[in-house]
Symmetry: none
Subunit: 214 residues, 4 copies
């Protein structure tokens, strides 16, 4: 058996012959001097919504946490393992990023699962059910509106979840503090896979708007 | 205040004029038909190690979980929120990926923190300390070996951690089962930021080897 | 006092010197032969959403009913005066239009009034309250979701109302019959005043989509 | 099936490439600041008599109610749905328009139906018969005058109806009050489809006169 899937080996060789070949100095400098990304992105695992692709960013630019449905749980310092909170702590306290962007997207499978819970969990541990339970109050409120189409409910919860995650970011004391003193900005964005449109959350109203229409 | 950082807006416009313009059919099909990635990658948040870049992959190819130091915790069905376990459950049970790749990299800040615990945590909740605690037995063993250089200890723990995460993947019953019946392969890889070299874990020995030197 | 507002007299003279001058043959033919519009549009009174402007249509093309919030009440043959039902009857039974389009738009004042009923009606008769009462069940359902922003609730009800009106069109026996035998199509559309975008209702799902992205 | 008729999609694209392209700032301002039309027009649904065309008005200028034969029913606060009264209430009480124009036109199908009632209604509910019943006393009086030609009777009733609607406007207490204190003017106009001539109602005599012949 090959030690890596063929597609990945092929892709790696394309990277070495292309991007790395033309950016090797940048990689070497980034290795030597360490990373200093200005922006952390909290994105979904979805294969269609990679932040480096959508924002056309190169090595060193984005510190990226990805989980199902780009959720931020509330601050919960209980001595347990918290993947998302650990990434936030590292980005804000060690790397001192200036921006955190919660990047959601259309047709999100996690959000779909929250809106249409299966009769049976995907597996006995029901990790997806537990994880998406973070937004179950919002999912219930949206699901109850049967006058909206299924697609409209999906988009609504995707956007509510982004605002919810931004709200949870502010429950971390050091994030709230740095936001207040101007050292850190929190942003929301929603990517439409089909059209490629990016919608940015208006900081004042919470609405999602096309940035080129500001 | 702008609703998104300037760099990201500029990058997005480059994406729309470039990649999206030339791949819009693919995006539309992926939106309509849903994602069917063959591979899940568990990668680090590090801004220098984006898997889509290293493997030169486009939309729809990689389902990507990213956390600090690309760690997989052991199977722990306790009814709590587990970001990483939820992503695994979704990838394996819903998307039925055929490969899971744990992708580590050199100069990993999380691994460095595990080897050189600060006198004080980054923040009172110490989420990084708790998270990296997953590999603290290995970190202690490596730290104790003062005949290895600091750089060697770092690389050693980076690679031990990848094998540790692959071991934890097998504590998930459905992953173990699908690996045994041949439907799923587990892989490790380690990326050298400075040289761009990719080292693949040998399935039999656990050693990391240059794939083009096989 | 002038017998017509100055602005309208000026505009009329521009029309006579411009459009009428170049289309007088068409006007004369339309006068002589009568109108044969293919399409009826049910639109809002809003000054920013004239269907002839949005669809760039000339004389003879669109038979246009306009009321507050482009609502169609249900079929109610009670021997009273029904402005909207009379227009429908004339368009379908006498003019035999082939399409009926319910055209809604963003920032609709009527929809806003339904979502945020004033403490006091606009006037003792409360005609707006009574009229918008047609969609009050939907307005209540949408208003209850406080996790959506005010702007999102507004858009949601605007789109629900269009589907509601299309549903009511089908309560008219002759409309249902002609739709079934293929002689008449019912459509929904929503116009974004700010961006100029037109969203068409998908006949199958009820979702609103950009027509150029089909 | 297309989600909108081809003619409308083509027209919309012409609008976006033409009028919207050159007036996008105006649309954005109108979206942001809301509409403040000075004038409400009560017009007929007829495809040949769009007020924006006849008065060459752009977005934001005219608040337009359209029904069959541009009729205003009398004030009837009975707790039922009244499309026309709701539009009046909104225009006068909320938008505070300064002018209301009742715009009739030649060869009006609704007026023709009032003068020549069919042996059978257009449809069982007879909404057209009920609606045009608003002017049936006038229609009966005109019909009885067999010394006028058919064309003269049609024009006569079209103009009588405009005065009748203006009279009904004054049965709305807030319209009468605002007209008396000078905040609101009521106007009548009649458009000749064939010649393009506009005739304005003389406020003092009720006669219809060519404004450019004053």
């Amino acid at each position: 058996m090959k030690h890596l899937p063929d597609r990945l080996l092929d892709g790696y060789h394309a990277f070495m012959g292309g991007r790395y070949a033309s950016e090797s100095d940048r990689y070497r400098a980034l290795a030597k001097e360490g990373q200093e990304p200005q922006t952390m992105v909290i994105a979904c695992c979805d294969s269609r919504a990679a932040p480096e692709t959508i924002f056309d960013c190169g090595p060193g630019e984005l510190f990226v946490m990805r989980n199902v449905a780009n959720l931020v749980p509330p601050y919960e310092p209980d001595g347990r393992h918290h993947a998302t909170s650990a990434a936030l702590e590292y980005a804000v306290q060690s790397l001192k990023v200036k921006h955190i962007v919660v990047l959601g997207h259309g047709r999100c499978g996690g959000i779909g699962a929250a809106l249409n819970p299966a009769a049976e969990p995907l597996a006995p541990g029901d990790f997806i059910g537990q994880w998406m339970g973070l937004v179950s109050p919002a999912a219930d409120a949206v699901s109850g509106n049967t006058m909206m189409t299924s697609g409209e409910r999906q988009t609504a919860l995707e956007r509510i979840s982004i605002r919810f995650s931004i709200g949870n970011l502010r429950t971390f004391p050091y994030i709230a503090e740095r936001e207040q003193n101007g050292g850190l900005s929190l942003h929301g964005a929603w990517f439409d896979i089909s059209t490629g449109e990016l919608w940015a959350m208006n900081h004042d109203t919470g609405d999602f708007e096309r940035p080129d229409v500001d």
